[in-house]
């Protein structure tokens, strides 16, 4: 997304922007292409799109992106493309000139001109300064060494990623939000991270001591070293960073040092232009500076003595600013901020003043086993502050009451148990909780969306989480408010929606379908990523969601996804069926049920060589060798491989067998070569992973000796061609197939089979066989996709074959060649010498 066309263009000092002669609109020039600058323009466009001609200067060579999402980019959970807020098309569509990679260096207020580094100079009617903040660099020796960086923009993230690629150790100076996010990301990227924090409590501005301690122990549990009360004396190194020395003499080696000790409003430009500047650029309630034609917004401003370092206040500022520019006069009244964060996947919330003091009472709840700490600070029956750790669902409720200065005298005793409890009910009902929030209560902190806005968005017909995300942006960034938005959907749309399909398992509030859709939509690439982005409530899932996620990812990313062995049920991990005594059974593939002397001899040899107690003909027309020990499996497979046999996948959620009957080759009733077709189909489909096991059969005539009408895909040959049947099931609930259609040629039978298989692979839920799947979606739907939609069928078939090109390596051959030997071998046996 980095685009070069805006990079430092060589121009003379004159205004090179060609303005149509009849464009008499006032020119708004914005300095700073960051979160506040662009949001202000968005607000302005929403009110009066044509009113101003807009030019935006940005020091960074990018389009407008979501700065708070740099942490997920660092952690490898998002790509830069995914955090872009407004892409190039937005600028183009709205006629906005973006000059990226060219910082403004001077403002001439008399001539009403700004000049940029490249020499480009532009006239303005209104100027908006939105330069954000500069990271604060502590003045210690070595601070300028290569390898010492801050954490503010995409460039810093790139530097960190480069360092992490080389591995080694990193030091993060500063245990505030930014520092901890940097440390978390670098840890996930494989670096050994030490956090140096001057204060005794991490995030002391947001957390009290108790919550800070919980956070510290949780982070230490994840392998970080956290030094609190530690004072940096120097950064040392010869030509590049080699480590950090503390005042007490301790030296910590590091190839990367991230300074995240704080930020300062970026005011140099305004100060040099003679604008009134205190800690930040001084603005009034409409974000106007001491010069009526110059406005300022974002972290660079000071309003009513306050400067802000979080996004929520910026949204309020941008609204007041746009109101002012379009002659609606609602002024900014300052913001009370709350912080709701996920630091390293841990939920933290704080709001207001929690320093305590005269007349303040603390209400505290600790639940050690759940790792929960809650503290609400009350003064004169009003909430003045709150700190929550581990369970932050009530953060919004406390914050709402705090902002509205509501009298909580009546519910004081119940307050700490949360909204659902305090407002009666007793039982936790999250829907009642969101229903009770006021309309201006903030739901999505990242994008500044209130409850009222979400509700009107839903009422306007956006009835799903995705639609809400796409329309009003609530829950579209960090996702920590997803639960709230879902509850709002339920409240607005009634219980029909709320009682939708079951969630995947107790680790998540999402259904199978939600998870599959999001995996594709957000291009997720690993199980930990899915769990992180979809807020799994357990650290690494359970035995029901892990195999499902593994399959969904495998299906979505053929050839790219790195299969997770540990998320596979034992049979799929061992490529054999576990038996009640812990031994395994081995079923080699016999294409279409055919075999020959060489295969039979090899099987007979294996049975003898490994003392297999039993060998049996299976219901799927294969031979099953029982009682093989896990240690012997690779050797058994090597012997079978040598005779040309591969895994029969009798153990997998995968294509099992293609049963055939004798067919026209021999049988006096046979109409087509059912055996030959079965072999071809098995060659095409073997090795494919599925939501559940998948069985195929081909019968040579309607006598149907291969039992094709109780198979997932069945072919019944007739004189004029091939009847294709789907959705049959023997087993627990017998279901005969539905007739899909009839085709004339073998090739068509194969093509429809591939397309049907892929449709099932892509759309069924994990552990749902074709029979219940078809009952759920209806056979008409399947016909429409496979029979009527020719192009769709062709695309499904192509996707199946593409995926197959990666899955037809015999898993036995890999093991026989020594891969994953540890799965078959115990740790070195230990003989204990008699004492």
């Amino acid at each position: 997304m980095e685009f070069q066309d805006g990079l430092a263009p060589a121009v003379d000092s004159e205004d090179i922007i060609l303005v149509p002669a009849d464009d008499v609109r006032e020119h708004l020039v914005v300095v700073g292409n960051g979160m506040a600058g662009c949001r202000a323009v968005e607000e302005l466009l929403a009110r009066d799109a044509g009113r101003y001609r807009v030019t935006i200067f940005g020091a960074e060579p990018y389009v407008n992106y979501n700065r708070i999402m740099l942490s997920p980019v660092l952690a490898g959970e998002k790509t830069f493309e995914q955090i872009v807020i407004n892409d190039r098309a937005w600028y183009d569509d709205n006629g906005i000139e973006l000059i990226a990679g060219d910082p403004v260096t001077a403002i001439d207020r008399d001539a009403k001109r700004v000049t940029a580094q490249s020499g480009r100079s532009v006239h303005y009617d209104k100027l908006l300064i939105a330069t954000g903040s500069d990271p604060f660099i502590i003045p210690v020796p070595g601070k300028d060494l290569p390898g010492v960086i801050s954490f503010r923009d995409m460039k810093d993230v790139d530097t960190m990623l480069e360092a992490a690629d080389k591995g080694g150790a990193a030091v993060v100076i500063g245990g505030g939000l930014l520092g901890l996010e940097a440390a978390h990301g670098l840890t996930l990227r494989g670096m050994k991270v030490t956090v140096i924090h001057l204060m005794d409590t991490l995030m002391e501005r947001q957390l009290d001591e108790a919550a800070g301690w919980l956070l510290k122990s949780a982070l230490e549990g994840r392998g970080q070293t956290i030094l609190t009360g530690a004072n940096t004396e120097a950064i040392f190194g010869d030509g590049k960073v080699e480590g950090v020395r503390l005042k007490d003499g301790t030296e910590i080696p590091a190839s990367l040092v991230v300074m995240a000790v704080g930020i300062r409003p970026s005011t140099a430009l305004a100060r040099e232009a003679g604008l009134e500047v205190n800690r930040g650029i001084k603005v009034n309630d409409h974000m106007v500076t001491s010069d009526p034609d110059v406005l300022a917004v974002g972290e660079c401003v000071e309003h009513d003595g306050n400067v802000y370092g979080l996004v929520a206040p910026l949204w309020d500022m941008c609204r007041s600013l746009a109101d002012g520019l379009t002659d609606q006069h609602t002024g900014y009244k300052g913001s009370v901020t709350s912080t709701k964060l996920k630091v390293a996947g841990l939920d933290v919330f704080s709001a207001g003043d929690f320093s305590g003091g005269e007349g303040c009472e603390d209400i505290v709840l600790r639940d050690a086993s759940r790792g929960v700490y809650k503290r609400v600070i009350v003064k004169d029956d009003r909430i003045v502050g709150a700190v929550l750790y581990g369970d932050t669902v009530d953060g919004g409720w406390y914050f709402d009451m705090l902002k509205r200065e509501e009298d909580v005298g009546e519910i004081r005793d119940l307050l700490i148990f949360g909204q659902a409890f305090a407002s009666g009910g007793g039982a936790l009902d999250p829907k009642a909780a969101v229903a009770a929030l006021s309309d201006d209560a903030e739901i999505c902190g990242c994008n500044g969306v209130s409850k009222g806005q979400v509700v009107s968005c839903i009422e306007a017909g956006n009835c799903s989480l995705d639609a809400v995300r796409a329309t009003c942006k609530a829950s579209a960034s960090c996702g920590s408010c997803t639960g709230l938005v879902e509850n709002l959907l339920a409240v607005v749309l009634g219980d029909d929606v709320a009682s939708g399909p079951k969630t995947m398992c107790k680790c998540t509030s999402f259904t199978h379908d939600d998870v599959r859709r999001e995996i594709v939509a957000q291009n997720m690439r690993s199980i930990p990523e899915v769990m992180q982005l979809l807020h799994w409530s357990t650290p690494d899932g359970c035995s029901s969601c892990r195999p499902a996620l593994n399959y969904y990812l495998l299906c979505a990313l053929p050839g790219e996804y790195q299969d997770d062995q540990q998320s596979r049920f034992v049979n799929e991990r061992m490529h054999a069926n576990i038996q009640k005594d812990g031994t395994y059974s081995v079923v080699p593939r016999m294409w279409g049920g055919l075999t020959n002397p060489r295969e039979l001899r090899a099987i007979a040899d294996v049975v003898e060589k490994y003392d297999a107690p039993m060998v049996k003909v299976t219901g799927g027309q294969r031979l099953d060798i029982f009682g093989i020990k896990k240690e012997d499996l690779p050797a058994v497979w090597a012997d079978l491989n040598a005779a040309g046999m591969v895994s029969g996948h009798a153990y997998g959620k995968s294509l099992r067998t293609v049963k055939t009957c004798v067919g026209s080759e021999w049988c006096r009733f046979g109409t087509q070569d059912s055996t030959g077709l079965g072999v071809k189909i098995e060659r095409m489909t073997w090795g494919s992973w599925m939501p559940h096991k998948f069985k195929i059969a081909v019968s040579g005539c309607p006598r149907n000796c291969a039992e094709a009408t109780i198979k997932d895909f069945g072919v019944v040959c007739v004189d004029s061609g091939y009847e294709l049947h789907v959705g049959g099931n023997g087993g627990i609930h017998v279901r005969a197939t539905d007739l899909l259609c009839k085709v004339a040629t073998e090739q068509e039978a194969m093509d429809y089979c591939a397309a049907f298989t892929q449709l099932y692979r892509e759309e069924a839920r994990y552990l749902e066989r074709t029979a219940p799947w078809i009952e759920r979606v209806g056979v008409d739907y399947v016909k429409q996709r496979i029979v009527e939609d020719e192009a769709g069928r062709e695309a499904l078939r192509a996707r199946f074959l593409y995926s197959q090109s990666f899955s037809q390596d015999d898993p036995w051959a890999e093991r026989a060649a020594g891969q994953h030997a540890e799965l078959h071998q115990p740790l070195a046996p230990i003989a204990i010498a008699a004492e």
């Binding site: 357990t538 359970c542 035995s543 195999p547 540990q566 540890e822 740790l827 230990i830 204990i832």
Partner: protein
């Protein structure tokens, strides 16, 4: 005093997986490594019908038995949820990247 036996390194066990170890003529022991790199050791037998727990799916600090999906707490060996039963645990510790397990008590008594 406990006798500690060095059975290998953390890296020898797959994360969210297990390896088995046989000490003397004792029952097979399953040594588990969790997602957060804790190590636990249990007799490799499910309290239900002696399923080989080492072959189960490890999640959090539990393992799902491969035979009938009982969930066993790795720390205590107790079956969780509605199921009842307990598998004996063996003390284990990590030291300088090595894994040490306590010599099984039965063995000690016999020695």
């Amino acid at each position: 005093m406990t006798d500690w036996i060095d059975i290998g390194t953390l890296a020898d066990i797959p994360q969210r997986g297990a390896r088995t170890v046989q000490i003397g003529g004792e029952k097979e022991i399953a040594v588990f490594r969790t997602g957060d790199d804790h190590v636990f050791a249990l007799v490799n037998e499910c309290p239900h019908k002696k399923g080989p727990l080492s072959q189960g799916i490890v999640h959090g600090h539990s393992v799902a038995c491969p035979l009938h999906n009982w969930n066993i707490a790795l720390k205590t060996g107790e079956a969780q949820g509605a199921d009842e039963g307990c598998t004996p645990t063996i003390a284990v510790r990590q030291e300088g990247g090595r894994i040490l397990i306590a010599r099984p008590t039965a063995l000690k008594a016999a020695a």
